[in-house]
Symmetry: C2
Subunit: 247 residues, 2 copies
Amino acid sequence: MRSGPNAVAMSTTFPELFDRFSAALLPAETPDATILRFRSIARAIRLDSHGHAEFDPKAEQLAFVCVGSAKLVARASGGREQVVSFHFAGELACVPGGALHAYSIEALTPCELLAFPVGEFLDLARSEPAILSEVCDRVMVALHRASEKSVALGRKTAQERVCSFLVGMTERIGVRQGNGFAMRLPMSRRDIADALGLTNETISRQFAELRMSGIIETSGRSLVTVPDIGSLRDLGGYMQLPERNAA
Amino acid sequence: MRSGPNAVAMSTTFPELFDRFSAALLPAETPDATILRFRSIARAIRLDSHGHAEFDPKAEQLAFVCVGSAKLVARASGGREQVVSFHFAGELACVPGGALHAYSIEALTPCELLAFPVGEFLDLARSEPAILSEVCDRVMVALHRASEKSVALGRKTAQERVCSFLVGMTERIGVRQGNGFAMRLPMSRRDIADALGLTNETISRQFAELRMSGIIETSGRSLVTVPDIGSLRDLGGYMQLPERNAA
DNA sequence: TTCCTTCATTGATCCGTGTCAATGAAGAGA
DNA sequence: TCTCTTCATTGACACGGATCAATGAAGGAA
């Protein structure tokens, strides 16, 4: 693992970081010996805002976000960047290895991670089915998010992509406000664009349209409020499932 | 589960189908009782070419492809279709449940599947860590394919997408021929288009260009030969990794 | 506070791919 | 074999979002 220019800064000690990982993924009955072995293969990564961590491109990693938020970025030729996924504290990111694109993790806010080589991680997890099961669940959630994202990237208009993105974010980091939500987006317009296969200009224009239609309100660069989540969802290009009667 | 107009046709018996699943995913030492329980939650799906299987949109499924090949399709509003992934015999497809798009599995060739409700499947798998581990591996492979696909859908030109697709297919179903590969694509141009976020016309035009450049040769609708896989890979828009010296 | 850099916004123009339309080839079934 | 349907191919044109360019707002640093 190699860290970028903005790496290193934080406060949290390794034991504190490991405790957060342990609380989220290791069940209470995990034997101490197993816990120690997880600890021995964990590598702490501390990133300032915009700091980035590059990994050995051959070796797949699991990265647990202990503190802050980050993006998993893939690079194609010509410096093109695609944000594969955003991750918040408590989530697990899978960083592919041996792939045809170059992957890295970049901090959206000051961020602390624990990185594990997948092979060793799964070897340990095999001894504790509950851990394996938890990891399996989380990877499936990631796969479903990726599947839903394929639809957006492959078949949706700019407006639908932006609305889908906002709907997803309200579910992950929004706080309820009446019929709607408020949230502070930790990523820039450019990050959103790189996640949705668009440009920052297009994101700005779509935000402007949504603001004018009263679908969203913004304040400063990062605060977004959605007065009525239903109207945002209606613009997301989703399949209208007949059984959406539950209000 | 509900099957479409072209469902039902085949020959293979349920025990034969289950044996293929069992050989691929259940280790030799799996207790008979566990095997029987897997058998009791497995549902056989037999599809003619173009047949499709719809699932309860609330209930996530794991579908093991015993025979043939299939596509996992998501539908958005306005009848738009996105092919999330292609699957060949021996592979495991994750069909999302409770999602904002409607998913189905559609046969590319006559096809036989075993479908399992995820919850019950994982409950059983927890009793056998080796099974859980195998499933986890396969889901991670699917996630990596999805990540690589995000880059294509979000940031690549039509030509790069088609080349990436062909590179991926040579790796999965190609047979080596000198420096290159030959393969019989079971999916139509339209299927490829729906997988790459393009139209069938654009696929045709890109195939025409690649034919003219001598990068590929085609024969009939489905046979594609790639004389030199290197030149195809060069057009895929991949990150040029410095350590690609291994010839 | 004030500066200064980064990020967001808005406008004008261009281009890649979609759309619409017509023709041709493949391959299944009688 | 011949027919008939489906799929692939090719062309003309339109349009959504990219690109290029300029201005303005946020918010961190001193």
